[in-house]
């Protein structure tokens, strides 16, 4: 399938910087596409692409500490994030927890964080985590901007990245820890359901909480009411189970060919409970 669509491609460019990438993109008037890892481009149903613009040489492959959090370049591969020292400690080790469960090493060697963010498949692992982590994306197109990923996903973001480069993903600092849970059909599958949760504690009580569930089958979203139920409480297994029940009761889920809403409803609570328990363990509660 992929081979068929790639055949419309007539030119391949290596952009030298963001500006060149953007001007090439503009010149194709919608028939160009940015290429980083190429994973989603290969699966794309777009048949109209004539020019591919490689953006892996414009200096956007890095993972570094930034204001206590992380700044990760848009073209950074999942493998290089996994290998980076800066990412190791972040959020209680959430990035290793997450990325080890995304696809398989050969794909992780290709796939980029920016690509995952932009493709934002509903069944994907990374969007759920980015939303939970409160990530922001810095983009550059005709204008420049910076927007929380959660907010981005609430709007029609796909058009934006037809004309803009995802420059950098900013992960804010968290005084606490996160954990990621997923069920797939195999060890390398997309998610039938996933959850990313984080908690921080002050004075024996939960100071902040983040709960996101994805592949419901819709894309990962935070469950603010679950977070509210956690904040101010003392962390305990009983609390996690209360939230599990709450999630199972209130979460919006649906059927698709991979799983039913009924299964997702029950298991969403389980994954949230497990992620909370592990996150709190990592946070040293």
């Amino acid at each position: 399938m992929s081979g068929v669509h790639a055949r419309g491609v007539r030119r391949f460019h290596f952009a030298r910087d963001v500006e060149e990438a953007l001007s090439l993109l503009a010149a194709y008037e919608g028939r160009g596409a940015l290429l980083a890892g190429g994973v989603d481009l290969l699966r794309s149903l777009r048949v109209d692409i004539e020019g591919l613009i490689d953006i892996t040489r414009i200096g956007l492959s890095y993972t570094k500490e930034a204001r206590g959090g992380l700044a990760i370049g848009g073209t950074t591969t999942l493998t290089s994030i996994l290998e980076s020292r800066a990412a190791r400690e972040y959020g209680g080790g959430i990035l290793a927890d997450l990325l080890h469960r995304v696809a398989v090493p050969p794909l992780r060697n290709m796939a980029t964080l920016g690509g995952a963010l932009v493709s934002a498949h509903p069944w994907a692992d990374i969007p759920t985590a980015l939303v939970a982590l409160g990530a922001e994306v810095r983009w550059q197109g005709e204008k420049e901007g910076r927007v929380p990923v959660e907010e981005l996903y609430q709007g029609p973001f796909r058009g934006l990245f037809r004309q803009a480069v995802a420059i950098e993903v900013l992960l804010p600092p968290w005084d606490g820890a996160f954990a990621y849970e997923k069920v797939g059909r195999t060890g390398y599958d997309i998610a039938l359901l996933n959850a990313c949760c984080g908690v921080g504690v002050e004075g024996g009580r939960i100071a902040w909480a983040r709960v996101a569930v994805g592949a419901r089958p819709d894309r990962g979203e935070r469950l603010p009411w679950a977070e509210e139920a956690l904040i101010g409480q003392r962390p305990s297994q009983t609390l996690w189970q209360e939230v599990q029940d709450l999630v199972a009761k209130r979460i919006e889920v649906g059927d698709d060919r991979r799983a039913s809403g009924a299964w997702r409803r029950e298991v969403a609570g389980v994954l949230v409970e497990r992620a909370l328990a592990r996150a709190s363990g990592r946070a040293g509660m």
């Binding site: 399938m1 068929v4 055949r7 699966r43 398989v104 069920v183 797939g184 059909r185 195999t186 060890g187 390398y188 599958d189 997309i190 039938l192 060919r257 991979r258 799983a259 039913s260 299964w263 029950e266 298991v267 389980v270 994954l271």
Partner: protein, 774 residues
């Protein structure tokens, strides 16, 4: 783990595979690795409808696409009813297929084919073929197929061999032995299980591909990825209307088949396109086409009822099958027959048996041969029912098997009653190490210590399950294989076999069988296989036949060459052949100690005295089909909260007689177990209400990967099959029969629910747990 055999020499050694070095070095060995200059690209237009009549086809616009050289459709090709199933003659599958029909019967069915200079031109032409369809109501399940007033899928008048076309029944069997109903009614205890297997894919790493071209003599050469080169030649000749003598079929190295290439799919289309254009034509299925338009396992529902005495000895087995063959009946009758014929003899203590079933048409992809060939479906239900019976009796499942399984010197009426599409052949089991397999496997997994313990680890509960199985070695009364063995002037050998190595290692194994007889290392035997111009006949690589049937042919040829070598040596040494011995590359006299090397003998026969070619052609038909046996044990962990099942460990102890190549035999078991784990946990083709497969590719059809592979321990438990070459029986299929029931039984041991619908997805497992109030 290899078990030492009493044989010395090539047999029983895990020698380097004869094709190993070329594969490791990435040499161009596969069908499409070779370009034929000037080859056109052939492509097929698939049906978008599950069931529709073709009202008209307009190819004018398509023909005008630059580079298009030929377009085939029902209006311009001969109409010859045939079966795509590559089986021996007489063909047991119905002639319900024509190359291009006026009707399409599943989404993906063949509507037209194009040959063009480039892939782009071919694709553009496909898009420009205007087809007007009259959409017909579609049948998307076997139950709908059998319902009153169901649309008739095969209403064409020229089809042959369909059991009851008006009711969509392609094949039916009903074989009673004794009186099952009374025996079940009178049994001390009964148990039953109804198990279902969905559509699933072979997923061989190499898709189907063929190059059709004309040699310098104008003969048509088909270089094709097939398990059945000789059937390809016979069937293509008939369908295309060529003298078979004008066709040569070459099978190069194959990247796996598992049954999906026991099927004549692209070859006649490529042949016809080559004939029409006078040009070479290459065709290959994309992965999506492999899923939709090649073949699948037969989805089935199998219901088993068992009745036994207080002692656990079976009195009755009732087995009823509903098989879905999809739009065409390739292998429909034979796979259906094998559900019973390869399972019921295992428990031959039951005097009352009934095996009945139907295979029905639906407007879904076409099922065909797939490793296990019905036995896999049968064992799922039989072995889950046996687990239930053991529970009802309060008996250990292993003990129940021990009291019922067939042993050396015993027989089953089923051997005679059910064959491949006709009656079978009476036979006595001459080798069976199943009792050892059960004991060794149980010890290895720690059956006594770990079963029924329900060990918990957070939400995970562990359980153990087991199952037994047998298969056959070739098809009695049908299979025939031949081998030609030639001694060269340097004393090395050429072995020409029709046998088809599809990645199993049979080229190596056949070389070992010859080398053992000839007292030479394997590398002194050059193997050339599967070329209908140069190698003698072989029915092909299916039905677990190659080691046994082809191997016996090779052994006979080698024995004849052995005798000829001794004759030449006797004349040279002036001694009687009886006192001579062939070993370690030389003939030596037991009387005088004088010796001649094979090189000297080859040289003498070729050039010196009484010149002749030392060579023999031998063939072997399959008078009986000795079953291999296996006992399967596994440990699973079930997540009670999500329904996820993990196979933690799998032990298989198998009796394939003498393992000619222990590593290859273990590899067959390991691969089959993993494929079976895929059946049990994740593999399932899904269909939209339109009948379109919605997960035709590896993105959404999941195979177990290395990440999902448990510790698989394959133990070869030796026996000696007196009719086998060097004591060997088959090993290629049996391994896939165990995982479904063993895993289902292990889930039951862990959490007390029976999973009878494969695959056991998290959703199905959780639903079963909740339905049971757990």
């Amino acid at each position: 783990m290899a078990v030492e055999t009493r044989h010395r020499g090539a047999v029983g050694q895990s020698v380097t595979k004869v094709d190993g070095p070329s594969l490791v070095a990435g040499k161009p060995v596969f069908t499409l690795d070779h370009d034929v200059p000037g080859a056109l690209v052939g492509k097929i237009l698939p049906s978008p409808h599950a069931h529709a009549a073709i009202v008209s086809i307009d190819t004018a616009e398509a023909e005008a696409v630059p580079g298009v050289r030929a377009i085939l459709h029902h209006g311009n090709v001969p109409r010859v009813p045939y079966t795509t199933a590559g089986q021996g003659w007489p063909e047991p599958s119905p002639y319900d297929t024509v190359l291009f029909d006026r009707k399409v019967r599943f989404v993906g069915d063949r509507v037209a084919a194009v040959a063009a200079e480039t892939e782009e031109a071919a694709e553009e032409a496909l898009r420009k073929i205007r087809v007007e369809y009259k959409v017909l109501p579609a049948v998307l399940s076997p139950e709908e197929a059998l319902a009153d007033g169901a649309p008739v899928i095969h209403d064409e008048p020229d089809a042959e061999g369909i059991y009851d076309a008006k009711h969509n029944i392609v094949a039916a069997v009903d074989i009673p032995v004794g009186d099952v109903a009374s025996a079940l009614a009178e049994a001390h205890v009964t148990a039953e299980a109804t198990c279902e297997i969905p559509y699933s894919q072979h997923a061989a790493i190499e898709p189907h591909g063929v190059i059709a071209y004309f040699d310098e003599a104008g003969r048509l050469v088909l270089r094709t990825s097939t398990q059945v080169p000789f059937h390809v030649r016979r069937i293509v000749a008939r369908v295309v209307g060529l003298d078979p003598a004008r066709i040569r079929v070459i099978k190069p190295r194959i990247g796996g088949g598992f049954g999906s290439k026991q099927e004549i799919l692209l070859e006649p289309v490529a042949a016809l396109l080559a004939l029409r254009t006078g040009r070479p034509v290459r065709m290959a299925y994309s992965r999506e086409e492999v899923f939709i338009a090649s073949r699948t396992r037969h989805p089935m529902r199998v219901a088993v009822k068992l009745g036994a005495g207080k002692d656990g000895v079976l009195q009755a087995i009732d087995m009823e099958v509903l098989s879905n063959t999809g739009a065409y009946g390739a292998h429909a009758l034979t796979v259906l027959s094998n559900v019973g014929s390869k399972t019921l003899p295992l428990y031959n203590k039951a005097p009352h048996l009934r095996f009945r079933g139907k295979a029905v048409y639906t407007n879904l992809p076409v099922a065909g041969a797939y490793r296990g060939y019905g036995a896999t479906q049968g064992y799922f239900a039989l072995e889950v029912a046996m687990d239930r019976l053991a529970e009802a009796l309060g008996m250990d499942p292993i003990e129940l098997r021990k009291r019922n399984h067939i042993r050396v010197g015993e027989t089953s009426p089923i051997f005679e009653k059910i064959g491949e599409g006709r009656e079978g052949t009476a036979q006595v089991v001459r080798s069976c190490a199943l009792a050892d397999c059960l004991r060794i496997g149980a010890e290895r997994i720690g059956w006594k210590e770990n079963r029924g313990r329900r060990r918990e680890d957070g939400p995970w509960v562990h359980g153990l399950g087991m199952a037994c199985a047998m298969q056959g070695s070739g098809i009695t009364g049908v299979d025939m294989a031949a081998a030609t063995l030639v001694m060269q002037d340097d004393g090395s050998f050429r072995l020409l076999v029709g046998a088809t190595d599809l990645g199993t290692g049979s080229d190596t194994i056949l070389a070992q069988i010859a080398a053992q007889e000839l007292g030479v290392p394997v590398d002194r035997v050059l193997v050339y296989s599967s070329d209908t111009d140069f190698t003698p006949f072989d029915t092909g690589a299916y039905a677990s036949s190659t080691t046994y049937v082809s191997g016996n042919a090779v052994l006979r040829a080698a024995q004849s060459v052995h005798r000829q070598i001794l004759d030449v040596a006797a004349a040279a040494l002036g001694e009687r052949p009886e006192v001579l011995e062939l070993a370690e590359g030389a003939v030596a006299s037991r009387k005088t100690g004088r010796r001649l090397t094979l090189g000297e003998i080859g040289h003498r026969a070729t050039y010196v005295v009484d010149q002749r070619q030392i060579a023999a052609t031998a063939s072997f038909t399959c008078p009986e089909s000795p079953p291999p046996f296996a006992a399967f044990f596994c440990e699973v962990a079930v997540d009670r909260e999500t329904g996820v099942v993990r196979v933690e460990r799998f032990v298989v102890a198998a009796d394939c007689g003498v393992a000619i190549h222990p590593k290859a035999a273990e590899g067959q078991l390991e691969g089959a177990i993993l494929q079976g784990i895929g059946h049990a946990l994740c593999e399932e083709m899904l269909f939209a209400p339109s009948g379109r497969c919605v997960n035709a590719g590896f993105f959404d059809y999941k195979l177990p990967s290395s990440l999902d592979t448990p510790r698989i321990e394959a133990i070869l438990v030796p026996s000696e099959e007196p009719t086998g070459p060097w004591g060997a029986k088959s090993i290629s299929e049996i391994g896939i029969n165990g995982p479904l029931p063993a895993i289902s039984n292990a889930i039951y041991d862990a959490v007390g629910v029976r999973l009878t619908r494969a695959p056991f997805t998290p959703e199905r497992v959780l639903l079963a747990l909740r339905a049971a109030g757990k």
